[in-house]
Symmetry: D2
Subunit: 278 residues, 4 copies
């Protein structure tokens, strides 16, 4: 697995790859993989570089900043060193799959805690030795509830928050505070069948495919930048509940994929879309 | 390939399969395959039975009518004996794929003609020895145009009409006249990205999957009963045009599948949904 | 979910469906779904019928035996009433996924126990309250080991045995004793890359697809009747270990599907192949 | 579409990307996309760089050769400027699909001619205005037949030869002469079901998936480096012929994909495997 990763994000201009790789070469770093993309509709450049070495030599980031345009956003991450908190409501399929993968060593992060607005997922979390926090939303307003959630998040300071079927909507304030740090899994297809009972809608419409979308959370409900999508075939013999069950299988697969991409720092967000370097 | 096929469609009640197979047995028919489905939300029964024999013995349909409830809709079809007219506008990918399959013996029907509102697909159709009719919609109103189309259709009397990227909308009158006989292929996902430039919308939204849906044509634009759907993965490096190109590949695959299902009489329509016996 | 299911398996002849449904009708049973298939290469008939009712009226099986050819094999199953024992070795991905589904109510059976030849999966099993039996194969011969396994199986009397990455080969005697009752999940494609280190072989060959096959266990190693197969795309950037990791994801999906088909009694075995009524 | 492309292939060492992009920057070239891969099992580096500009300035290749290790293999290609000859035997599905795509502008190459050892595909080729050469293999030995094929190939000097269901085996001499220039489509899975009647074998084995593999042609029959693979689900109700028909659909899709990758110069061959930059 790659360990040291650089994320560079800046307006496109000639020679960017040359200037970046020159700095890395000068510091004696061996590049393991390089991925770049130029969004030609906005003339924007993004690059993900993984290089060998236990740590990044001093001065690399500084030299990159000197060498690149002022607007450049340069980030460094150590893969395997990430941390997440998972939030869920009552459904165990996505949470359980993530915890299983975590216990199998397939999640390159520390799963610090599970937060839920109900208590029924406690035994599942604790079976995998992950601390569980039930923060009920009942009888309190959204602001108070979010404050309690934030209190727990403050305690862990996770790099990312993974919504594994967390069924409550965050306020703009909350979303802003964790900008580009919260990902969600959404049944069915975005932007189709928005609203209540999507599987009932899908059933009534007689769809032949059921899907799921993992996306970043923004103020636009279920409309943040898409990270991953997949589908599963269904047919007329599926009841609405069986479609939902098929949907749960896609959801857990797509969310697991998105979490992996996120924790390996393979995702850039630009102009409302993601660039995903698989 | 199956040849003699019965379609039975009626309110569910006990003993339907028994009564149907009793009639077939009494007439000495050998059933090759039987497929039934009960829509339990509406208590409705559909059954497709294929049996051996060059022709259906006299009296079978009559005896079935006697044996089954009055409301039963009983249809008989001879597979391989069907006929279609294909309608297209300017894009050759779906039409070409159907013509190729036709010439390879993979379409169990006579492709009687191609009708287009433009002339550019003439050489493609004629290369496969299929008569081509250009009926321009320019400078005439929709009613007049449809009358001209109907005139050609009358000449061929096709069992089905396949819209292979025909980009004009039919009037309610036209659709009514060919109820349950017209199928269409629609880019992207129904009901998502309805409107102009769906691939541009998909590109801007950064979707990771492109799809196509084949459906019956009803008055609700692009909302008729779904026959088949499929998808293809795309990513950030696809331009809107490349997404459209990927989309064309899915479109042709899905339409070909729907045409095959249609001509093998594997589709029932009930309550706005299809039952497809694959 | 369907509850009462009949499996009928016999040489094909005219009127079988009629005779079967006549008996059911006579006993006042309401058929929920019927699926039949005739293997025309061997003139063999199989049928799966699900009907409503908490229990099967007395005499139905007897009357079917009277009505059908002597060679007919007629079985009755109550879905939801099944029981399984899972066997595994050291890898947790398939076992964990099955246990999760079991705890979510998605496995229509009682998971009675987990048997392993190692001890490391004990905490996973016990986290889901499933008894765990470690039966080491070390320092004893295969016959003795199998006798110990059988002793535990005798105690549970499961309907089926699911090998969820159980890495030991059974003797012919063992396989015979549980004929058509053991299913297995196999990496990669059958019959491709048989032998040691299949993912290393797949990597060296530069395959672009990784698959898994669920099958019944017979004397022919990894060659029993296939139940389900699926694949996942891979590419040049995958190491052998990453291919194996992708493979694990397919394995768990395919095994879960096969287990569901098995427990819903949707599988027939005839002439070395399966007929799967999905 | 990209136009100017560089392929660089050499033993890995520090600073390769830096040295390459330095040369391009010095010559004022704007990189559109860069893709690199290091095969860490052999310490080998490959890079594909697409840059803007109608032509490559003089001296770029020379400067790259100076800047890079002696062993480096540096190739330049102009996309859209490629040419191919298609070879087929009797089956029209792959050839027809390629010709349709060619006529739709979806093949970035000049399809110069079709060569077959039979005459039945003549009208299909000529319908798309592509010259057709029937070179019968009957009553002559392989050497003589290949000499005749080479004579026609010499006349066209294609960049690549696409075997679209060409059912004859080439001699080592022929393969050597067109090393890394011939691609083939193979039914079923490599290396599974090698031998005669693969679909019959697949049918008898009761497979649930049918696949196709596009690969470079080497001396090892059907064992050259894999370019692309895909599958299609099948089930017990498919006859061997229906499996073959499903297989034809996968074959044409996979071959079309491989041809596009080839003509856009997205494929490297190293150590018997391909690196495909999609």
């Amino acid at each position: 697995m790659e360990k040291q990763v650089l994320h560079i994000d800046c307006p496109d201009e000639k020679g960017l790859v040359y200037r970046i790789t020159e700095v890395l070469y000068r510091h004696g770093l061996n590049i393991v993989s390089n991925q770049e993309f130029v969004d030609t509709t906005t003339d924007h450049f993004v690059m993900r570089t993984a290089f060998e070495g236990e740590e990044t030599p001093n001065g690399v980031l500084e030299d990159l900043r000197t060498s690149l345009p002022n607007e450049a956003d340069i980030r460094h991450a150590e893969i395997g060193d990430r941390s997440i908190v998972i939030m869920a409501t009552k459904e165990p399929h996505c949470l359980g799959d993530l915890l299983l993968r975590y216990s199998n060593g397939e999640i390159p992060a520390d799963v610090q805690a599970v937060i839920s607005n109900h208590d029924n997922l406690r035994s599942l979390s604790e079976a995998f030795d992950v601390p569980f926090h039930a923060i009920s939303h009942e009888k309190i307003d959204r602001k108070t509830h979010e404050a309690k959630v934030e209190e727990v998040l403050e305690q862990y300071q996770p790099d990312y928050i993974v919504l594994a079927k967390y069924m409550r909507i965050f306020s703009s304030d909350f979303v802003d505070r964790y900008k580009d740090k919260i990902i969600n899994i959404h049944h069915s297809f975005l932007p189709a069948f928005i609203g209540a009972n999507p599987y009932q809608q899908a059933f009534e419409r007689g769809v032949k495919i059921i899907g799921a979308t993992a996306h970043f959370v923004t103020d636009d409900l279920d409309e943040g930048p898409i990270i991953a999508q997949d589908v599963m075939p269904v047919n007329h013999s599926y009841t609405a509940e069986e479609m939902a069950s098929a949907g749960r299988d896609v959801e857990k697969t797509v969310l697991a994929k998105a979490v992996k991409l996120l924790l390996e720092e393979r995702i850039f967000i630009h102009n409302g879309r993601t660039i995903v370097f698989e």
